[in-house]
């Protein structure tokens, strides 16, 4: 007897959210099937891969990344190179140096850098902040103003600053708001409710459900994304139907497996390779659970993950 296929197509869909403008737009979301289940029904928009650069330039980056960017002298040149990376769908500029404890870069300088990056690239831009919610609120407001009309995603509005970020980024300048919660479906939903009550349209919200490197409590990440997708698709929960973007690079390159030097751990082998595989494995697992976009930084990881997504569509 032949196998009876029972495709599982839901009546609900993940919201579609556009980033960027005109010819350079990308669209996240739109799926009516479980993540990557293109055999059940065509997936409107394949998951996207972003390339992360930081305001600190190439300081402290592994050799493969430094080599890729070669002789880029300005952040603008680096951004252009990031946008040209094979497999890149968008660029994510992270303001590590805006953190009060990490140099406390001024709001004006951050705006200048964001403008330089935005002008240098021809694919959509995502702006990520630092560890201080308060500082994020300040820089996001001014960057959202300076990049008005560019349809930029800001990562992220959190419980502590969603009012300021939502009001400036989402309402005043109609950019896209990333809603960040820490690996908990209820907190994720609550933040979406609060942002929509503030007046941010749900079509302008993208969720960052939190992330962790593989091996570092990733079961919470996996189950949170699983449950959010189930609620969005099977239960038609409008407050959880926003697409999910998961930053990977910022989590995976700071764990022991990627940081331990070859002198300290000779049996572990090439340090850079460890960082790459940590990034690849974590990203693939997030996509398997349901991330609509992942943010990576190494050219080898970007190439592999984008190729995997393409192969599955």
């Amino acid at each position: 007897m032949a196998f009876v296929q029972k495709p599982q197509v839901y009546k609900s869909a993940i919201n579609t959210v556009e980033l960027g403008v005109s010819d350079n737009k990308i669209t996240l979301g739109g799926a009516t099937v479980s993540p990557l289940y293109s055999f059940d029904a065509p997936i409107a928009n394949a998951p996207k891969v972003g390339v992360e650069i930081t305001d600190l330039g190439l300081e402290g980056e592994p050799k493969g990344i430094v080599d890729y960017y070669g002789d880029c002298k300005t952040i603008g040149e680096q951004a252009k190179k990031a946008a040209a990376m094979p497999g890149a769908d968008f660029v994510c500029l992270r303001f590590v140096g805006a953190e009060p404890g990490e140099g406390d870069r001024s709001v004006e300088e951050c705006v200048k850098i964001a403008k330089e990056v935005s002008e240098a690239i021809d694919i959509p831009l995502v702006i990520a902040g630092c560890k201080s919610s308060q500082k994020d609120a300040q820089i996001f407001e001014k960057i959202a103003e300076a990049l008005s009309g560019k349809n930029v995603l800001f990562l992220s509005a959190k419980e502590e600053n969603y009012k300021t970020v939502g009001a400036s980024v989402g309402l005043a300048y109609s950019q896209k708001v990333g809603a960040e919660s820490s690996v908990d479906i209820n907190l994720a939903k609550q933040l979406n409710v609060l942002l929509t009550q503030l007046g941010v349209a749900k079509e302008n919200i993208i969720m960052n459900l939190g992330s962790a490197a593989a091996g570092y409590g990733f079961e919470y990440v996996a189950s949170t994304i699983d449950r959010v997708k189930q609620a969005a698709l099977a239960q038609n929960d409008a407050m959880l139907q926003m697409p999910v973007v998961t930053p990977i690079a910022s989590e995976t390159w700071v764990v022991k497996e990627a940081l331990a030097s070859e002198e300290d751990m000779p049996e572990w082998g090439c340090q850079e390779q460890r960082g790459i595989e940590m990034e690849i494995v974590t990203a693939a697992a997030c996509l398997a659970c349901g991330s609509d976009a992942v943010i990576l930084k190494h050219p080898a990881s970007v190439a592999t993950i984008s190729a995997m997504v393409a192969a599955l569509m």
Binding site: F3, F39, G215, F218, S223, G269, V281, A285, T304
Partner: protein, 447 residues
């Protein structure tokens, strides 16, 4: 399909005799339906009816054992598609492939990888679980590889659809209870006889899911239900589709024919691309690969993959715990400062990671807090001045460490005074509340 309480009630004697320990036959039927008690608690159901019902109430996916002795592994037995619905029970196995179709160099590297990966992570020994010996065309070379793989103290999967050659391979390796994979629509009778003779698991393949389904049905009809399904298809997309659909059909749609564990061979669908194999191994660890085959296993691949697997296959109802004790970080010795936290694995990883990033030598003391996080443990009374004092005594901290400064989690700074009372001679200082602040804090710490 799972039976409802009413279905089961219909076949009980309906006498409410209480011989099963339940007040009524209905109550008994309800409990059986929930899986709370086995059907044979009722002495009045005939064997014939029981056999029929056992079939219907059996778990949707069979539990299959491969390998022997120390290298025996359990596959399958899953009851849910998402770990949050209950838990996954049988972790994915990672297998490394060798083949007479590969270059000698590739086989040598694979054997070297297998021998090299061996470490412990949160109480679990991490090794390459199995060796996948793949027959291409050179039988002498293949049998030589079988012999070498058989000496490596791992479970074997012998992938060979030529029954004559497979028989020779089993003469070498049959005692270790390998999987014989390669039964297909045209050879399944001979392969079935061979697997039955050696009492081993038979791996079934098919050009597509229809053919696979068909062959499994024929094998089941012939009495063999000790199977695994090699769901590897021609490319990545079809293999993912097959892996998910086989699992979903068995768990969600009650298709017993597909209720077996899977083998996914990334070495075949991403040959030569090691990064892609890592990505796919991750994908199939999350989505339903029971045995995942790769061309090799470097530490670079193993560290994230085994960590991921350990996470995905933890029971959501039971937090992962680390062993209480002294963890000397960054070359800490008896004169280094002590920092204390709980045995919740996630807390341990975050805190130890930040301490390692700081480069400051610290004796990290892990106390038994029932696997709870700091605040939960404190609220539950599992992290208190008394529990810490007891831990200091049992672990003989004062005998092992000369330094007398103890950093406690900032979230329980309130315990400072009580701990000072219980641990005279110690200077107790609360850390900042968040682990992320530890690097700066430790570097600036003046003790």
């Amino acid at each position: 399909m799972a039976l409802t309480g009413l279905d089961i009630f219909k076949i009980t004697p309906k006498t409410n005799c209480k011989d099963c320990g339940n007040p009524t036959c209905m109550a008994f039927a309800m409990k059986v339906a929930q899986g709370a008690i086995p059907l044979d608690k009722c002495p009045h159901i005939s064997d014939e009816v029981r056999a029929k019902l056992d079939e219907a109430t059996a778990p949707p996916m069979k539990t299959i054992k491969i390998g022997a002795g120390e290298n025996e592994h359990t596959l399958g037995g899953e009851t849910v598609l998402y770990r949050h619905d209950k838990t996954f029970v049988s972790k994915s196995l990672y297998a490394v492939a060798v083949s007479d179709g590969y270059s000698d160099e590739q086989n040598e590297t694979a054997f070297a990888d297998i021998a090299k990966i061996d470490y412990e992570r949160i109480g679990e020994r991490m090794r390459v679980d199995a060796i996948f010996v793949d027959y291409a065309s050179d039988s002498a070379k293949f049998l030589d590889l079988v012999k070498r793989a058989n000496d490596m103290d791992r479970a074997l999967i012998i992938s060979c659809s030529d029954a004559d050659i497979a028989e020779k391979a089993l003469e070498i390796a049959g005692a270790g209870k390998p999987v014989l994979s390669g039964a297909n629509a045209s050879n399944f009778e001979a392969m079935n006889a061979l697997a039955s003779k050696h009492g081993i698991v038979l791996g079934v393949t098919g050009a597509d899911l229809n053919e696979l389904h068909d062959t499994v049905e024929k094998l089941e009809k012939a009495g063999n239900k000790n199977l695994v399904l090699d769901v590897t298809m021609g490319n990545i997309k079809d293999t993912f589709a097959a892996t998910v659909q086989v699992r979903r059909a068995s768990i969600k749609d009650g298709d017993r024919t597909f209720g077996y564990p899977s083998i996914v061979n990334t070495a075949r669908i991403a040959a030569g691309d090691r990064d892609m194999q890592s990505a796919l191994a991750s994908l199939f660890t999350v989505k339903y690969g029971s045995v995942i085959v790769m061309e090799g296993m470097r530490y670079a691949d193993a560290l994230p993959l085994y960590g991921l697997r350990q996470n995905i296959f933890t029971n959501p109802q039971k937090p992962m715990k680390v062993e209480p004790g002294i963890y000397a970080l960054n070359g800490a010795d008896e004169n280094s400062v002590c920092a204390l936290t709980v045995d919740f694995a996630l807390t341990y990883f975050v805190v130890s990671g930040e301490i390692e990033r700081s480069g400051v030598p610290v004796n990290l003391l892990i106390t038994d807090a029932g696997g709870y996080s700091v605040l939960t443990a404190w609220a539950a009374g599992k992290l208190s001045a008394s529990s810490i004092a007891k831990f200091f005594q049992e672990a003989d901290i004062e005998g092992k460490i000369k330094n007398r400064t103890l950093i406690i989690p900032g979230k329980v700074a309130v315990l400072k005074g009580e701990i000072e009372d219980k641990l005279p001679g110690w200077k107790i200082i609360p850390s900042p509340p968040e682990a992320i602040q530890l690097v700066k804090y430790l570097r600036e710490l003046d003790v």
